[in-house]
């Protein structure tokens, strides 16, 4: 019920935002922050709820909390929400970064403030639905629902080229998700032919036994939709535009949360539904991952626009996630989940930082800034910390995550992993270039204006929260890993099936069996 309460709270607050803003300007922002705080409190209530920690025997035992109502009986579609360790981490990231995005950008939205917060909360509500839906149809429903308010955020409050960016964003995601819809329906139909019962429930569909080539096609439908969201390299062109043109708060939401829905979809749906196809596809997926890492990093190095640079660095980092997800190794998968969280924090902070720069200089061009450390020491320090996090400095979260991914996937794919390591070096190149050009060196004479404000204490505090979280993940990632472990075990041991009729399906694949000793 708490899950429903979280959803309803966000929706109710979203609906109330518009009328409230008319009555009292500024109140919609307060309402949005309040509702996000409330939902965060509700969510963290789960940590203290009494739970029996057992190794889950079936998928049904895994969930901390479930809600399962009939929705469209004709197609066996159920309103089925559930939360587990992985879902909890993702929800915490969503709500936390939602708060971060609002806190870091006070007063940046001047027009139609109520509508802005309405769309913002609706996006978050859609993402919460995506991270909790256990019925494939419901998942698709939320998947689409989160798009529309995000589209509006970019199209109404974006920067100069917003219309094109918004259309590009929407069409890329929507067209690929139509493929996913076809795959979902086909999967349900094939499972209906086998069992005589039509259902879209993840638990039931995962038990369908499909021939490899069918699995391959269906997996492809899912993979493309998720790879667009991730984004993986040939499907990434929407990302730099959407990130650059979106207002800062929406950029933060996009980078920190929406990108993670793709990786989450791969983990939650693609891997358990199509295990054989995924392991057969793994080498290709890893190649795509390596291509994303290298291409993203090189493109980031070439950018003049700081926001585009950060956006391309996301492509690069998400390549590591793709490798971790598909390497078929628990350690690497755990690393991918850690990277999702760590990248969420660091990229959100970087976009926040770029937003601050844009606010002060009305420009995002690297060439127009230099030597900011002298005038804006706090902002520069913030930038230093998060750029270091992004390039994987040991002691911060991203390092742990990328290390786990690389260590985990090396035994199975030594050459591809070696190629992926180059991403760490390339990251250092674009990260240090950014720092050196913008923050170090001699200040431009025309840049220094006396009214240039450094970060206020409050803003510094918000940034430090994200920094401390990254430090915590970097120094002691175990609590986070143990939350995610349950689902990773489910993926790799196939405990998702009923133990009674469990048959080892991966006998031929010794790579995957031999790699359980990671953590």
């Amino acid at each position: 019920m708490t899950l429903l309460l979280i959803l309803l709270l966000l929706l109710a607050a979203a609906v109330l935002c518009c009328p409230l803003e008319k009555v009292h300007p500024g109140s919609s922002r307060a309402l949005a922050i309040f509702s996000l705080l409330m939902t965060t409190v509700l969510l963290f209530g789960y940590l203290w709820a009494p739970r029996v920690f057992t190794v889950p025997a079936t998928l049904a035992d895994l969930w901390w909390d479930q809600l399962n109502w009939a929705w469209i009986p004709r197609f066996g579609i159920r309103f089925h929400l559930g939360i587990d360790g992985l879902g909890f981490l993702m929800l915490a990231l969503t709500l936390g970064m939602g708060l971060f995005g609002l806190w870091i950008t006070p007063g940046q939205i001047r027009q139609r403030v109520g509508l802005f917060h309405c769309c913002y909360l609706l996006t978050i509500a859609g993402v919460v639905g995506v991270f909790t839906a256990l019925d494939l149809f419901l998942f698709f429903f939320f998947w689409e629902v989160m798009l529309i308010p995000m589209f509006l955020l970019i199209a109404i409050w974006g920067y100069e080229d917003r219309t094109r960016a918004a259309i590009k964003f929407f069409i890329f995601t929507q067209a690929s998700s139509l493929l996913m819809l076809a795959a979902i329906v086909a999967l349900a139909y094939l499972s209906y032919l086998q069992n005589g019962e039509i259902t879209f429930s993840l638990q039931h569909l995962a038990q369908a036994r499909l021939p490899l080539h069918t699995q391959y096609w269906l997996m492809f439908g899912f993979f493309i939709a998720f790879a667009v969201k991730l984004p993986a390299v040939p499907l990434h062109p929407w990302l730099p535009d959407a990130h650059t043109q979106a207002p800062t708060a929406a950029s933060i939401l996009l980078a920190a949360v929406l990108l993670k829905t793709g990786a989450y979809g791969l983990l939650r749906f693609t891997l358990p539904l199509f295990p054989e196809a995924c392991s057969a596809f793994a080498p290709l997926a890893l190649m795509i991952g390596v291509a994303s890492i290298v291409y993203g990093a090189m493109a980031a190095y070439a950018q003049q626009d700081i926001k585009r640079l950060v956006a391309y660095s996301s492509v690069s980092h998400m390549g590591f996630v793709l490798i971790g997800v598909f390497s078929g190794n628990s350690t690497a998968t755990l690393g991918a989940i850690t990277l999702m969280i760590a990248h969420g924090l660091s990229s959100a902070a970087l976009f926040g930082m770029v937003g601050k720069l844009q606010q002060r200089f009305h420009s995002r061009n690297i060439a127009e800034m230099s030597g900011l450390w002298a005038t804006l020491p706090r902002l520069s320090a913030v930038a230093l910390v998060f750029v270091m996090a992004a390039i994987g400095l040991p002691g911060l979260g991203n390092f742990v995550a990328e290390f786990l991914v690389l260590v985990g996937s090396f035994p199975s794919y030594p050459w591809l992993t070696t190629a992926a390591v180059s991403g760490v070096i390339l990251a250092a190149m674009y990260g240090l270039r950014l720092l050196q050009r913008v923050f170090f060196g001699l200040p431009h004479s025309n840049q220094v204006t006396p009214d240039m404000q450094d970060l206020s204490r409050r803003e510094l505090a918000v940034f430090s929260c994200a920094g401390l979280l990254l430090l915590w993940i970097g120094l002691y990632p175990q609590p986070l890993l143990s939350q995610a472990k349950e689902w990773v075990e489910v993926i790799h041991n196939r405990t998702i099936e009923n133990p009674a009729n469990y048959t080892p399906r991966r006998d031929g694949d010794s790579r995957l069996k031999g790699s359980e000793a990671g953590y």
Binding site: I72, I148, A155, I167, Q174, V185
Partner: protein, 532 residues
């Protein structure tokens, strides 16, 4: 037996009676409101009789003289037709009132005959309700002709007066004439096809098993070409945009919804009684028409600047989508999927055209008259330029429009999504992979222009609000107007939602609630359709 037969066709009798009563009423008491009241009463009576029949009718239906088969499916479509007709009569009333507003109060002195609109509307409903019950090529053809012949004057319908620009009257005359030409051609082709079918099979009833003789197949192909012409499937679509653009907007809504849905329903019946999917040539023909309509319809819509033309091309594409489900061999699911999609399509299209019509009505007093096309697109309520930034001028109206567009695009939370979901299910069940790919590609193309339109609605105006510089555009040369960013011009033309009558708002509210309500919780609708 006769009593049973008559009771089975009470809806048709009531509609027919309504037409006669309305004609007599108009002959004695001219009156616009009175005509609307009689129309609505007739429609309500027909609905009641349909609902009554739904309870009493045996499941397999009731055959009336071999010409008609009244079953639950046909009654369902009768109800849909009547609903459409009721909405169109309300919108049409608004349309006619807006154009008659400046005229003298004594109606019999004027040269305009708005009452004829309702007579023709009822005749079309009668034709549509007969068409969905048709069980014989003769009744099929008669009903189709009744619809077409009533559409000729309705498409060219106009009322005279200062408020009715000559430009619109000329366009609607052109529209009626174009439809007359193509429709007459379709009739000829279709009749020829029916004659060939009759020669080959010796029967015109729908119950015959498929023959494989060449003559029979050729006859069916010709017949289907005629149907495709009426449904404006690619490559028989050339008349559509002109006819849609020129016709009075309520009539456009009518021809796009009722004119299509009734024919598709009849075709559904025909395909499954004759088991046409057994014939490879027919299968190929229908699949080609469908795929071409989806892709080319959407491609042609991409660059349309006129809203009505855009919606015309979009309706071509949507008709192509339906055919994915029509070819399904599983008759029960085909019925279900086609019906679900048609309901979604009809409600959405009605909603979209109603909004266009109401916007144009409310803008009418401020649109310059005359016979020449408007040079300034931002002041022509049928141009996209006019819709730029509408959300900030008329928020509620724009939200209705956005909902309708999202539903056309098939985005969740709207009924259109469930329609599309049904089509996906049907395509996968029938393993029509190529059609599915065309459906996905068409939908992706469709998104582009639906979104473009939504973005136009959302264009924010950063400049100051609506100074009343209404007179200035005429003084400047047009070329300068064209060069100016549309946002600046737009501020001069504020939308006037207050001039939309309550009936218009109610219609829009009803349609939007249906679109969103069934979009979130479609079970009642699905249960109803399954019970057919």
């Amino acid at each position: 037996m006769i009593v049973q037969n008559l009771s089975a066709i009470t809806p048709l009798l009531i509609l027919g009676g309504g037409v006669v009563i309305l004609m007599l009423q108009v002959a004695f008491f001219r009156g616009h409101r009175g005509a609307l009241a009689t129309t609505l009463l007739t429609l309500i009576a027909t609905t009641t009789s349909c609902l009554f029949l739904l309870r009493t009718l045996p499941t397999q239906g009731h055959t009336v003289t071999g010409l008609l088969l009244v079953d639950r499916l046909s009654l369902f479509y009768c109800l849909l037709n009547i609903f459409t007709a009721a909405i169109v009569s309300a919108i049409g009333f608004h349309y006619l009132c807006a154009r008659l507003a400046g005229q003298s109060e004594k109606p019999h002195h004027s040269e305009s005959y708005p009452e004829a609109f309702y007579i023709l509307l009822l005749l079309i409903s009668l034709g549509a309700c007969t068409l969905v019950s048709a069980n014989h090529f003769a009744s099929f053809f008669l009903a189709l002709e009744l619809i077409s012949i009533s559409f000729y004057p309705l498409l060219a319908f106009s009322v005279h007066g200062d408020r009715s620009p000559l430009r619109d009257q000329m366009l609607s005359l052109e529209s009626g004439f174009k439809y007359l030409m193509t429709s007459a051609f379709a009739t000829a082709v279709g009749l020829f096809g029916i004659a060939m079918v009759f020669t080959a099979s010796g029967s015109l009833a729908f119950s015959t098993q498929p023959l494989t003789s060449d003559l029979y197949q050729a006859g069916l192909v010709l017949f289907l070409v005629a149907v495709a012409l009426k449904l404006s499937l690619v490559p028989f679509h050339f008349w559509t945009p002109d006819v849609y653009q020129g016709a009075p907007t309520p009539v456009t809504a009518l021809i796009a919804t009722l004119g299509k849905s009734a024919l598709v329903a009849a075709l559904l019946k025909l395909v499954h009684t004759l088991q046409l999917f057994e014939l490879p040539i027919i299968n190929l023909l229908i699949a080609t028409l469908a795929a071409a309509s989806m892709i080319i319809g959407n491609l042609l819509a991409l660059r349309q600047q006129n809203i009505k033309r855009l919606l015309a091309y979009s309706s071509i594409a949507h008709l192509g989508y339906v055919f994915v489900a029509l070819l399904l061999i599983d008759e029960r699911f085909a019925r279900e999927a086609v019906s679900a999609y048609l309901v979604a399509y009809v409600l959405t299209t009605l909603s979209a055209f109603s909004i266009v019509s109401l916007v144009a009505d409310s803008e009418l007093p401020h649109t310059p008259g005359g016979a020449h096309p408007l040079q300034d697109h931002a002041r022509d309520p049928f141009q996209r330029a006019f819709y730029r930034g509408l959300l900030w001028r008329a928020p509620v109206l724009s939200i209705y429009f956005i909902v309708a567009l999202l539903s056309l695009a098939g985005i969740p939370l709207t009924l259109g999504f469930f329609g599309k979901f049904y089509l996906f299910s049907a395509g996968i069940q029938g393993q029509q992979w190529w059609l599915l790919i065309a459906l996905i590609a068409g939908s992706a193309l469709g998104l582009y222009y639906y979104l473009g339109l939504i973005l136009d609605l959302l264009k924010r105006q950063d400049s100051a609000v609506a100074g009343d510089n209404r007179e200035t555009p005429e003084k400047k040369p047009d070329s300068i107007n064209m060069l100016k960013p549309a946002g600046c011009q737009k501020t001069s033309v504020t939308d006037r939602p207050e001039s939309i009558a309550l009936s218009g708002w109610l219609v829009l509210l009803l349609l939007t609630i249906l679109l969103l309500g069934f979009g979130v919780y479609p079970s009642p609708l699905i249960n109803w359709i399954i019970a057919l």
